[in-house]
Symmetry: C2
Subunit: 288 residues, 2 copies
Amino acid sequence: MSAHPRLSLNQATVKHASLLDALDATREAGIGAIGLWREPVAEVGLEKACALVTDSGLRVSSLCRGGFFTAPPGPARAAALHDNRRAIEETAALAAAGAPGSAPVLVLVAGGLPDGDRDLPGARERARDAIGDLAGDAAAAGVVLAVEPMHPVFAADRGVVSTLGQALDLAEQFPAAAVGVVVDTYHVWWDPDLPAQVARAGRGGRIASYQVADWVTPLGPDVLTSRGLPGEGHVDLPAVSALVERAGFGGDVEVEVFDRALWEDDPRAVAVRTAAAFAVAAGVRVRA
Amino acid sequence: MSAHPRLSLNQATVKHASLLDALDATREAGIGAIGLWREPVAEVGLEKACALVTDSGLRVSSLCRGGFFTAPPGPARAAALHDNRRAIEETAALAAAGAPGSAPVLVLVAGGLPDGDRDLPGARERARDAIGDLAGDAAAAGVVLAVEPMHPVFAADRGVVSTLGQALDLAEQFPAAAVGVVVDTYHVWWDPDLPAQVARAGRGGRIASYQVADWVTPLGPDVLTSRGLPGEGHVDLPAVSALVERAGFGGDVEVEVFDRALWEDDPRAVAVRTAAAFAVAAGVRVRA
Protein backbone atom coordinates (compact mmCIF):
# COMPACT_ATOMS: atom_id res chain seq x y z
CA MET A 1 0.00 0.00 0.00
CA SER A 2 1.30 3.46 -0.77
CA ALA A 3 -0.07 6.75 0.44
CA HIS A 4 0.47 10.30 -0.81
CA PRO A 5 4.25 10.80 -0.69
CA ARG A 6 4.00 14.02 1.32
CA LEU A 7 1.53 12.78 3.91
CA SER A 8 2.57 12.62 7.54
CA LEU A 9 0.34 11.10 10.20
CA ASN A 10 0.38 13.26 13.29
CA GLN A 11 0.25 11.03 16.32
CA ALA A 12 -2.60 13.01 17.84
CA THR A 13 -4.86 11.42 15.21
CA VAL A 14 -4.18 8.02 16.84
CA LYS A 15 -3.82 9.45 20.31
CA HIS A 16 -4.18 6.27 22.32
CA ALA A 17 -1.64 4.23 20.33
CA SER A 18 1.81 3.60 21.80
CA LEU A 19 4.75 4.98 19.84
CA LEU A 20 5.48 1.56 18.38
CA ASP A 21 1.85 0.99 17.36
CA ALA A 22 1.68 4.46 15.81
CA LEU A 23 4.88 3.88 13.84
CA ASP A 24 3.65 0.48 12.66
CA ALA A 25 0.22 1.79 11.69
CA THR A 26 1.79 4.64 9.75
CA ARG A 27 4.25 2.42 7.90
CA GLU A 28 1.70 -0.29 7.15
CA ALA A 29 -0.66 2.30 5.64
CA GLY A 30 2.13 3.27 3.25
CA ILE A 31 2.60 6.66 4.87
CA GLY A 32 6.20 7.88 4.81
CA ALA A 33 6.28 10.32 7.72
CA ILE A 34 4.98 10.82 11.23
CA GLY A 35 4.44 13.80 13.49
CA LEU A 36 5.40 12.71 17.01
CA TRP A 37 4.08 13.70 20.42
CA ARG A 38 6.19 13.98 23.53
CA GLU A 39 3.99 11.86 25.82
CA PRO A 40 4.25 8.55 23.91
CA VAL A 41 7.94 9.25 23.36
CA ALA A 42 8.41 9.71 27.11
CA GLU A 43 6.60 6.43 27.77
CA VAL A 44 9.46 4.47 26.24
CA GLY A 45 12.23 7.01 26.88
CA LEU A 46 14.02 9.13 24.31
CA GLU A 47 16.77 6.67 23.49
CA LYS A 48 14.44 3.80 22.77
CA ALA A 49 12.06 6.13 20.92
CA CYS A 50 14.88 7.17 18.61
CA ALA A 51 15.72 3.53 17.93
CA LEU A 52 12.10 2.74 17.14
CA VAL A 53 11.89 5.72 14.80
CA THR A 54 15.06 4.65 12.98
CA ASP A 55 13.77 1.08 12.69
CA SER A 56 10.51 2.32 11.24
CA GLY A 57 12.23 3.97 8.30
CA LEU A 58 9.78 6.89 8.63
CA ARG A 59 10.57 10.57 8.36
CA VAL A 60 9.76 12.69 11.41
CA SER A 61 7.89 15.83 10.38
CA SER A 62 7.62 17.52 13.80
CA LEU A 63 7.45 17.02 17.54
CA CYS A 64 4.36 18.20 19.40
CA ARG A 65 4.65 20.12 21.55
CA GLY A 66 6.30 22.76 23.55
CA GLY A 67 5.03 26.10 24.73
CA PHE A 68 2.53 26.73 27.54
CA PHE A 69 4.70 29.53 28.76
CA THR A 70 2.35 32.39 29.56
CA ALA A 71 2.92 32.22 33.32
CA PRO A 72 4.33 35.37 34.93
CA PRO A 73 7.97 35.31 36.08
CA GLY A 74 8.38 32.75 38.86
CA PRO A 75 8.74 28.99 39.34
CA ALA A 76 5.99 28.04 36.86
CA ARG A 77 7.60 30.03 34.08
CA ALA A 78 11.06 28.69 34.91
CA ALA A 79 9.70 25.14 34.85
CA ALA A 80 8.06 25.76 31.49
CA LEU A 81 11.28 27.08 29.99
CA HIS A 82 13.21 24.12 31.40
CA ASP A 83 10.71 21.72 29.91
CA ASN A 84 10.87 23.48 26.54
CA ARG A 85 14.66 23.15 26.50
CA ARG A 86 14.24 19.42 26.98
CA ALA A 87 11.70 19.40 24.16
CA ILE A 88 14.22 21.13 21.90
CA GLU A 89 16.75 18.38 22.61
CA GLU A 90 14.15 15.69 21.98
CA THR A 91 13.22 17.33 18.69
CA ALA A 92 16.81 17.33 17.48
CA ALA A 93 17.34 13.71 18.52
CA LEU A 94 14.14 12.39 16.99
CA ALA A 95 14.63 14.24 13.70
CA ALA A 96 18.17 12.84 13.53
CA ALA A 97 16.78 9.36 14.14
CA GLY A 98 14.20 9.71 11.37
CA ALA A 99 14.75 8.95 7.72
CA PRO A 100 16.34 11.59 5.46
CA GLY A 101 13.93 14.48 4.95
CA SER A 102 12.97 14.60 8.62
CA ALA A 103 12.33 18.08 9.98
CA PRO A 104 13.66 19.27 13.34
CA VAL A 105 10.49 21.22 14.12
CA LEU A 106 9.09 21.74 17.61
CA VAL A 107 5.46 22.84 17.56
CA LEU A 108 4.72 25.48 20.21
CA VAL A 109 1.31 26.22 21.68
CA ALA A 110 1.51 29.41 23.69
CA GLY A 111 -0.87 28.46 26.48
CA GLY A 112 -3.86 30.37 27.76
CA LEU A 113 -4.50 33.06 30.32
CA PRO A 114 -3.19 32.20 33.77
CA ASP A 115 -5.98 31.51 36.28
CA GLY A 116 -7.93 34.62 37.11
CA ASP A 117 -5.88 36.76 34.74
CA ARG A 118 -7.74 38.85 32.14
CA ASP A 119 -4.70 40.58 30.69
CA LEU A 120 -4.57 39.02 27.24
CA PRO A 121 -1.99 41.47 25.83
CA GLY A 122 0.21 40.74 28.85
CA ALA A 123 0.01 36.97 28.32
CA ARG A 124 0.88 37.50 24.68
CA GLU A 125 3.93 39.54 25.66
CA ARG A 126 5.10 36.79 27.99
CA ALA A 127 4.74 34.21 25.21
CA ARG A 128 6.92 36.42 23.03
CA ASP A 129 9.50 36.79 25.82
CA ALA A 130 9.58 33.02 26.36
CA ILE A 131 10.25 32.42 22.69
CA GLY A 132 13.03 34.99 22.94
CA ASP A 133 14.50 33.02 25.84
CA LEU A 134 14.40 29.79 23.83
CA ALA A 135 15.41 30.97 20.36
CA GLY A 136 19.12 30.70 21.08
CA ASP A 137 18.77 27.15 22.40
CA ALA A 138 16.78 26.20 19.32
CA ALA A 139 19.34 27.70 16.96
CA ALA A 140 22.17 25.93 18.77
CA ALA A 141 20.34 22.61 18.45
CA GLY A 142 19.40 23.18 14.82
CA VAL A 143 15.71 23.12 15.78
CA VAL A 144 12.96 25.39 14.48
CA LEU A 145 10.42 26.58 17.03
CA ALA A 146 7.11 26.55 15.16
CA VAL A 147 4.61 28.93 16.71
CA GLU A 148 1.10 27.61 16.17
CA PRO A 149 -1.69 30.14 16.06
CA MET A 150 -4.71 28.51 17.63
CA HIS A 151 -8.32 29.10 16.72
CA PRO A 152 -9.69 32.04 18.74
CA VAL A 153 -12.07 29.67 20.49
CA PHE A 154 -9.00 28.60 22.51
CA ALA A 155 -7.67 32.09 23.30
CA ALA A 156 -8.65 31.94 26.97
CA ASP A 157 -7.63 28.46 27.94
CA ARG A 158 -5.12 27.05 25.50
CA GLY A 159 -3.41 29.42 23.11
CA VAL A 160 -3.21 33.21 23.27
CA VAL A 161 -1.64 33.39 19.79
CA SER A 162 -4.80 33.58 17.71
CA THR A 163 -3.93 34.47 14.12
CA LEU A 164 -1.22 33.69 11.62
CA GLY A 165 -0.42 37.39 11.38
CA GLN A 166 0.12 37.55 15.12
CA ALA A 167 2.33 34.43 15.04
CA LEU A 168 4.40 36.05 12.31
CA ASP A 169 4.68 39.35 14.20
CA LEU A 170 6.19 37.25 16.94
CA ALA A 171 8.37 34.92 14.85
CA GLU A 172 9.82 37.72 12.77
CA GLN A 173 11.55 39.13 15.83
CA PHE A 174 13.93 36.14 15.62
CA PRO A 175 15.95 34.45 12.87
CA ALA A 176 13.90 32.26 10.50
CA ALA A 177 16.27 29.37 11.17
CA ALA A 178 15.15 29.36 14.80
CA VAL A 179 11.50 30.51 14.83
CA GLY A 180 8.79 29.78 12.28
CA VAL A 181 5.05 29.18 12.30
CA VAL A 182 2.58 26.34 11.88
CA VAL A 183 -0.25 26.71 9.40
CA ASP A 184 -3.03 24.41 10.65
CA THR A 185 -6.18 24.62 8.57
CA TYR A 186 -8.42 23.87 11.54
CA HIS A 187 -7.09 26.89 13.40
CA VAL A 188 -6.80 29.46 10.59
CA TRP A 189 -9.30 28.55 7.88
CA TRP A 190 -11.77 31.30 8.90
CA ASP A 191 -9.24 34.15 8.73
CA PRO A 192 -10.09 36.76 6.06
CA ASP A 193 -6.42 37.73 6.04
CA LEU A 194 -5.16 34.19 5.43
CA PRO A 195 -3.96 34.57 1.82
CA ALA A 196 -1.88 37.63 2.67
CA GLN A 197 -0.43 36.09 5.82
CA VAL A 198 0.46 32.75 4.20
CA ALA A 199 2.24 34.67 1.44
CA ARG A 200 4.07 36.75 4.05
CA ALA A 201 5.09 33.57 5.90
CA GLY A 202 6.41 32.13 2.67
CA ARG A 203 8.40 35.23 1.77
CA GLY A 204 10.13 35.09 5.12
CA GLY A 205 10.78 31.35 5.00
CA ARG A 206 8.68 30.96 8.12
CA ILE A 207 6.38 28.03 7.28
CA ALA A 208 7.84 25.29 9.46
CA SER A 209 4.80 23.02 9.38
CA TYR A 210 1.56 22.62 7.47
CA GLN A 211 -1.18 20.62 9.16
CA VAL A 212 -4.58 19.76 7.77
CA ALA A 213 -7.77 19.01 9.66
CA ASP A 214 -11.31 19.90 8.78
CA TRP A 215 -13.87 22.01 10.63
CA VAL A 216 -16.99 19.98 11.24
CA THR A 217 -20.42 21.22 12.36
CA PRO A 218 -22.37 20.90 14.45
CA LEU A 219 -19.55 21.20 16.93
CA GLY A 220 -19.51 18.36 19.42
CA PRO A 221 -19.82 18.90 23.15
CA ASP A 222 -16.04 19.36 23.33
CA VAL A 223 -14.79 21.84 20.72
CA LEU A 224 -11.22 20.64 21.14
CA THR A 225 -12.08 17.22 19.78
CA SER A 226 -14.59 18.30 17.14
CA ARG A 227 -12.34 18.00 14.13
CA GLY A 228 -12.67 15.97 10.99
CA LEU A 229 -10.49 14.20 8.47
CA PRO A 230 -9.87 16.10 5.23
CA GLY A 231 -13.12 16.38 3.29
CA GLU A 232 -15.44 15.86 6.25
CA GLY A 233 -16.07 19.53 6.95
CA HIS A 234 -16.33 23.08 5.72
CA VAL A 235 -12.74 23.97 4.91
CA ASP A 236 -11.71 24.49 1.31
CA LEU A 237 -8.51 22.50 1.84
CA PRO A 238 -7.32 22.62 -1.78
CA ALA A 239 -7.52 26.41 -1.64
CA VAL A 240 -5.43 26.59 1.54
CA SER A 241 -2.98 23.97 0.25
CA ALA A 242 -2.53 26.01 -2.92
CA LEU A 243 -1.72 29.11 -0.82
CA VAL A 244 0.82 27.18 1.23
CA GLU A 245 2.48 25.66 -1.83
CA ARG A 246 2.57 28.99 -3.64
CA ALA A 247 4.32 30.29 -0.55
CA GLY A 248 7.05 27.74 -1.16
CA PHE A 249 6.38 25.07 1.41
CA GLY A 250 7.32 21.66 0.02
CA GLY A 251 7.63 19.53 3.15
CA ASP A 252 5.57 16.76 4.65
CA VAL A 253 1.97 17.69 5.41
CA GLU A 254 0.55 16.43 8.66
CA VAL A 255 -2.98 15.28 9.27
CA GLU A 256 -3.68 16.14 12.88
CA VAL A 257 -7.26 15.38 13.89
CA PHE A 258 -8.44 15.48 17.49
CA ASP A 259 -11.56 13.36 17.30
CA ARG A 260 -12.84 10.94 19.91
CA ALA A 261 -14.32 8.55 17.37
CA LEU A 262 -10.96 8.21 15.64
CA TRP A 263 -9.23 7.71 18.98
CA GLU A 264 -11.49 4.80 19.80
CA ASP A 265 -10.85 3.12 16.48
CA ASP A 266 -7.94 0.80 15.63
CA PRO A 267 -4.85 2.89 14.80
CA ARG A 268 -4.21 0.84 11.64
CA ALA A 269 -7.70 1.52 10.37
CA VAL A 270 -7.33 5.20 11.21
CA ALA A 271 -4.03 5.43 9.32
CA VAL A 272 -5.61 3.85 6.24
CA ARG A 273 -8.64 6.16 6.42
CA THR A 274 -6.34 9.15 6.87
CA ALA A 275 -4.32 8.24 3.80
CA ALA A 276 -7.46 7.85 1.71
CA ALA A 277 -9.02 11.11 2.94
CA PHE A 278 -5.79 13.02 2.39
CA ALA A 279 -5.35 11.74 -1.16
CA VAL A 280 -8.88 12.75 -2.13
CA ALA A 281 -9.50 15.95 -0.22
CA ALA A 282 -6.33 17.75 0.92
CA GLY A 283 -5.38 19.16 -2.45
CA VAL A 284 -1.67 18.74 -1.79
CA ARG A 285 0.49 18.25 -4.86
CA VAL A 286 2.69 15.16 -4.99
CA ARG A 287 5.73 17.33 -5.57
CA ALA A 288 5.63 20.83 -4.24
CA MET B 1 -34.15 50.74 41.91
CA SER B 2 -31.85 52.40 39.43
CA ALA B 3 -29.32 50.76 37.17
CA HIS B 4 -26.37 52.20 35.26
CA PRO B 5 -27.85 54.96 33.08
CA ARG B 6 -26.32 53.60 29.89
CA LEU B 7 -27.28 49.97 30.38
CA SER B 8 -29.62 48.31 27.92
CA LEU B 9 -30.92 44.79 28.45
CA ASN B 10 -30.79 42.86 25.20
CA GLN B 11 -33.83 40.63 25.01
CA ALA B 12 -31.71 37.58 24.17
CA THR B 13 -30.58 37.60 27.80
CA VAL B 14 -34.18 36.84 28.82
CA LYS B 15 -34.94 34.87 25.69
CA HIS B 16 -38.08 33.08 26.84
CA ALA B 17 -39.84 36.19 28.15
CA SER B 18 -42.65 37.73 26.12
CA LEU B 19 -42.11 41.29 24.93
CA LEU B 20 -44.30 42.62 27.72
CA ASP B 21 -42.52 40.59 30.38
CA ALA B 22 -39.12 41.67 29.05
CA LEU B 23 -40.15 45.34 29.05
CA ASP B 24 -41.52 45.03 32.59
CA ALA B 25 -38.46 43.20 33.87
CA THR B 26 -36.18 45.82 32.34
CA ARG B 27 -38.11 48.75 33.74
CA GLU B 28 -38.55 47.22 37.19
CA ALA B 29 -34.78 46.62 37.42
CA GLY B 30 -34.28 50.33 36.86
CA ILE B 31 -32.76 49.78 33.42
CA GLY B 32 -33.53 52.55 30.95
CA ALA B 33 -33.17 50.80 27.61
CA ILE B 34 -33.83 47.52 25.87
CA GLY B 35 -32.43 45.77 22.81
CA LEU B 36 -35.35 44.09 21.07
CA TRP B 37 -35.60 40.87 19.06
CA ARG B 38 -37.87 40.37 16.11
CA GLU B 39 -39.47 37.09 17.24
CA PRO B 40 -41.12 38.38 20.44
CA VAL B 41 -42.12 41.53 18.54
CA ALA B 42 -43.77 39.40 15.86
CA GLU B 43 -45.65 37.44 18.52
CA VAL B 44 -47.73 40.49 19.39
CA GLY B 45 -47.48 42.25 16.03
CA LEU B 46 -45.55 45.40 15.23
CA GLU B 47 -48.30 47.87 16.05
CA LYS B 48 -48.97 46.47 19.49
CA ALA B 49 -45.25 46.06 20.11
CA CYS B 50 -44.73 49.75 19.41
CA ALA B 51 -47.51 50.63 21.84
CA LEU B 52 -46.00 48.44 24.54
CA VAL B 53 -42.59 50.00 23.98
CA THR B 54 -44.04 53.51 24.24
CA ASP B 55 -45.93 52.56 27.40
CA SER B 56 -42.75 51.17 28.96
CA GLY B 57 -40.97 54.50 28.73
CA LEU B 58 -37.80 52.63 27.74
CA ARG B 59 -35.33 53.58 25.06
CA VAL B 60 -34.81 51.05 22.26
CA SER B 61 -31.11 50.52 21.62
CA SER B 62 -31.34 48.12 18.66
CA LEU B 63 -33.40 45.47 16.93
CA CYS B 64 -31.90 41.98 16.49
CA ARG B 65 -31.66 40.85 13.88
CA GLY B 66 -31.42 40.92 10.15
CA GLY B 67 -28.92 39.35 7.83
CA PHE B 68 -28.57 35.65 6.99
CA PHE B 69 -28.09 36.60 3.38
CA THR B 70 -25.23 34.45 2.13
CA ALA B 71 -27.41 32.34 -0.19
CA PRO B 72 -26.52 32.48 -3.88
CA PRO B 73 -28.83 34.42 -6.23
CA GLY B 74 -32.23 32.73 -6.29
CA PRO B 75 -35.42 32.50 -4.22
CA ALA B 76 -33.64 32.05 -0.87
CA ARG B 77 -31.61 35.20 -1.37
CA ALA B 78 -34.66 37.14 -2.59
CA ALA B 79 -36.62 36.00 0.47
CA ALA B 80 -33.77 37.04 2.76
CA LEU B 81 -33.62 40.52 1.22
CA HIS B 82 -37.42 40.87 1.48
CA ASP B 83 -37.29 39.87 5.13
CA ASN B 84 -34.48 42.33 5.81
CA ARG B 85 -36.51 45.14 4.27
CA ARG B 86 -39.30 44.33 6.71
CA ALA B 87 -36.76 44.32 9.52
CA ILE B 88 -35.62 47.79 8.48
CA GLU B 89 -39.21 49.06 8.72
CA GLU B 90 -39.65 47.40 12.10
CA THR B 91 -36.45 49.00 13.35
CA ALA B 92 -37.60 52.47 12.35
CA ALA B 93 -41.03 51.98 13.92
CA LEU B 94 -39.75 50.55 17.20
CA ALA B 95 -37.06 53.21 17.60
CA ALA B 96 -39.71 55.88 16.99
CA ALA B 97 -41.89 54.25 19.63
CA GLY B 98 -39.11 54.24 22.18
CA ALA B 99 -38.20 57.03 24.53
CA PRO B 100 -35.93 59.86 23.32
CA GLY B 101 -32.41 58.57 22.81
CA SER B 102 -33.62 55.40 21.07
CA ALA B 103 -31.35 54.21 18.26
CA PRO B 104 -32.70 53.01 14.91
CA VAL B 105 -30.11 50.23 14.64
CA LEU B 106 -30.71 46.90 12.96
CA VAL B 107 -28.14 44.27 13.95
CA LEU B 108 -27.08 42.11 11.01
CA VAL B 109 -25.59 38.64 11.28
CA ALA B 110 -24.28 37.58 7.90
CA GLY B 111 -25.18 33.91 8.04
CA GLY B 112 -22.93 30.93 7.45
CA LEU B 113 -21.84 28.88 4.47
CA PRO B 114 -24.75 27.50 2.44
CA ASP B 115 -25.12 23.71 2.77
CA GLY B 116 -22.26 21.87 1.14
CA ASP B 117 -20.51 25.10 0.12
CA ARG B 118 -16.86 25.54 1.10
CA ASP B 119 -16.35 28.85 -0.67
CA LEU B 120 -15.95 31.19 2.30
CA PRO B 121 -14.68 34.16 0.25
CA GLY B 122 -17.70 33.73 -2.04
CA ALA B 123 -20.14 33.75 0.89
CA ARG B 124 -18.45 36.86 2.22
CA GLU B 125 -18.83 38.58 -1.15
CA ARG B 126 -22.52 37.76 -1.21
CA ALA B 127 -22.97 39.20 2.28
CA ARG B 128 -21.35 42.42 1.02
CA ASP B 129 -23.60 42.46 -2.03
CA ALA B 130 -26.69 41.97 0.13
CA ILE B 131 -25.74 44.90 2.33
CA GLY B 132 -25.27 46.92 -0.84
CA ASP B 133 -28.80 45.98 -1.88
CA LEU B 134 -30.19 47.08 1.49
CA ALA B 135 -28.18 50.20 2.23
CA GLY B 136 -30.49 52.47 0.22
CA ASP B 137 -33.58 51.14 2.02
CA ALA B 138 -31.88 51.68 5.36
CA ALA B 139 -30.87 55.25 4.51
CA ALA B 140 -34.39 56.04 3.32
CA ALA B 141 -35.83 54.74 6.60
CA GLY B 142 -33.23 56.48 8.75
CA VAL B 143 -32.00 53.12 9.97
CA VAL B 144 -28.37 52.04 10.50
CA LEU B 145 -27.49 48.52 9.43
CA ALA B 146 -25.04 47.31 12.07
CA VAL B 147 -22.81 44.53 10.77
CA GLU B 148 -21.88 42.21 13.61
CA PRO B 149 -18.61 40.35 13.31
CA MET B 150 -19.13 36.97 14.91
CA HIS B 151 -16.54 34.93 16.75
CA PRO B 152 -14.66 32.71 14.26
CA VAL B 153 -16.12 29.66 15.97
CA PHE B 154 -19.31 30.54 14.08
CA ALA B 155 -17.74 31.17 10.66
CA ALA B 156 -19.11 27.98 9.10
CA ASP B 157 -22.64 27.89 10.39
CA ARG B 158 -23.70 31.33 11.56
CA GLY B 159 -21.67 34.32 10.53
CA VAL B 160 -19.02 34.56 7.82
CA VAL B 161 -17.99 38.05 8.95
CA SER B 162 -15.37 37.12 11.53
CA THR B 163 -13.42 40.21 12.58
CA LEU B 164 -14.11 43.85 13.27
CA GLY B 165 -11.63 44.79 10.54
CA GLN B 166 -13.53 42.70 8.03
CA ALA B 167 -16.85 44.23 9.12
CA LEU B 168 -15.37 47.68 8.64
CA ASP B 169 -13.95 46.79 5.22
CA LEU B 170 -17.51 45.99 4.34
CA ALA B 171 -19.29 48.86 6.07
CA GLU B 172 -16.93 51.50 4.71
CA GLN B 173 -18.14 50.81 1.19
CA PHE B 174 -21.38 52.56 2.18
CA PRO B 175 -22.32 55.80 3.95
CA ALA B 176 -21.85 55.74 7.73
CA ALA B 177 -25.43 56.93 8.16
CA ALA B 178 -26.62 53.64 6.62
CA VAL B 179 -24.05 50.99 7.55
CA GLY B 180 -22.09 50.62 10.78
CA VAL B 181 -20.78 47.82 12.94
CA VAL B 182 -21.49 46.12 16.24
CA VAL B 183 -18.70 45.68 18.75
CA ASP B 184 -19.68 42.67 20.87
CA THR B 185 -17.03 41.74 23.42
CA TYR B 186 -17.91 38.06 23.27
CA HIS B 187 -17.19 37.96 19.56
CA VAL B 188 -14.12 40.18 19.31
CA TRP B 189 -12.31 40.07 22.65
CA TRP B 190 -9.57 37.71 21.40
CA ASP B 191 -8.59 39.85 18.39
CA PRO B 192 -5.00 41.13 18.59
CA ASP B 193 -6.00 43.92 16.21
CA LEU B 194 -8.94 45.08 18.35
CA PRO B 195 -7.51 48.40 19.61
CA ALA B 196 -6.64 49.53 16.07
CA GLN B 197 -9.96 48.42 14.62
CA VAL B 198 -12.10 50.00 17.36
CA ALA B 199 -10.22 53.25 16.83
CA ARG B 200 -10.78 52.98 13.08
CA ALA B 201 -14.49 52.34 13.65
CA GLY B 202 -14.67 55.40 15.85
CA ARG B 203 -12.89 57.65 13.36
CA GLY B 204 -15.42 56.67 10.72
CA GLY B 205 -18.43 57.06 12.98
CA ARG B 206 -19.20 53.38 12.45
CA ILE B 207 -19.88 52.08 15.96
CA ALA B 208 -23.63 51.59 15.85
CA SER B 209 -23.84 49.26 18.84
CA TYR B 210 -21.69 48.12 21.73
CA GLN B 211 -22.66 44.84 23.39
CA VAL B 212 -21.03 43.19 26.37
CA ALA B 213 -20.95 39.53 27.30
CA ASP B 214 -18.20 37.53 28.88
CA TRP B 215 -16.28 34.51 27.60
CA VAL B 216 -16.59 31.68 30.09
CA THR B 217 -14.57 28.46 30.24
CA PRO B 218 -14.85 25.58 30.18
CA LEU B 219 -17.15 26.05 27.23
CA GLY B 220 -20.46 24.29 27.68
CA PRO B 221 -21.66 21.58 25.31
CA ASP B 222 -23.19 24.28 23.09
CA VAL B 223 -20.72 27.07 22.34
CA LEU B 224 -23.51 29.38 21.21
CA THR B 225 -24.99 29.48 24.69
CA SER B 226 -21.74 29.44 26.68
CA ARG B 227 -21.60 33.10 27.56
CA GLY B 228 -21.50 34.85 30.85
CA LEU B 229 -22.66 38.06 32.46
CA PRO B 230 -20.02 40.78 32.77
CA GLY B 231 -17.36 39.68 35.21
CA GLU B 232 -18.03 35.95 34.97
CA GLY B 233 -15.34 35.20 32.41
CA HIS B 234 -11.99 36.03 30.86
CA VAL B 235 -12.66 39.27 29.05
CA ASP B 236 -11.07 42.47 30.29
CA LEU B 237 -14.31 44.39 29.80
CA PRO B 238 -13.08 47.70 31.25
CA ALA B 239 -10.24 47.66 28.70
CA VAL B 240 -12.61 47.09 25.79
CA SER B 241 -15.10 49.62 27.13
CA ALA B 242 -12.31 52.19 27.36
CA LEU B 243 -11.39 51.56 23.72
CA VAL B 244 -15.00 51.97 22.64
CA GLU B 245 -15.44 55.15 24.63
CA ARG B 246 -12.18 56.62 23.39
CA ALA B 247 -13.52 55.90 19.92
CA GLY B 248 -16.42 58.22 20.68
CA PHE B 249 -19.30 55.86 21.32
CA GLY B 250 -21.60 57.30 23.95
CA GLY B 251 -24.81 55.35 23.44
CA ASP B 252 -26.60 52.67 25.40
CA VAL B 253 -24.55 49.55 26.03
CA GLU B 254 -26.35 46.25 25.67
CA VAL B 255 -25.81 43.17 27.75
CA GLU B 256 -26.55 40.26 25.44
CA VAL B 257 -25.87 36.90 27.04
CA PHE B 258 -26.92 33.62 25.46
CA ASP B 259 -26.93 31.32 28.45
CA ARG B 260 -29.35 28.50 29.17
CA ALA B 261 -29.20 28.96 32.93
CA LEU B 262 -30.25 32.61 32.58
CA TRP B 263 -33.00 31.64 30.16
CA GLU B 264 -34.48 29.26 32.72
CA ASP B 265 -34.46 31.87 35.44
CA ASP B 266 -37.16 34.46 36.13
CA PRO B 267 -36.70 37.43 33.74
CA ARG B 268 -37.04 39.88 36.62
CA ALA B 269 -34.26 38.19 38.54
CA VAL B 270 -32.10 38.09 35.43
CA ALA B 271 -32.63 41.81 34.80
CA VAL B 272 -31.61 42.62 38.37
CA ARG B 273 -28.52 40.38 38.15
CA THR B 274 -27.61 41.94 34.81
CA ALA B 275 -27.80 45.44 36.23
CA ALA B 276 -25.61 44.47 39.17
CA ALA B 277 -23.02 42.69 37.02
CA PHE B 278 -22.90 45.55 34.54
CA ALA B 279 -22.38 48.18 37.23
CA VAL B 280 -19.49 46.25 38.77
CA ALA B 281 -17.71 44.70 35.82
CA ALA B 282 -18.45 46.37 32.49
CA GLY B 283 -16.25 49.40 33.01
CA VAL B 284 -18.65 51.71 31.19
CA ARG B 285 -18.60 55.34 32.26
CA VAL B 286 -21.87 56.89 33.38
CA ARG B 287 -21.44 59.63 30.80
CA ALA B 288 -19.41 58.85 27.72
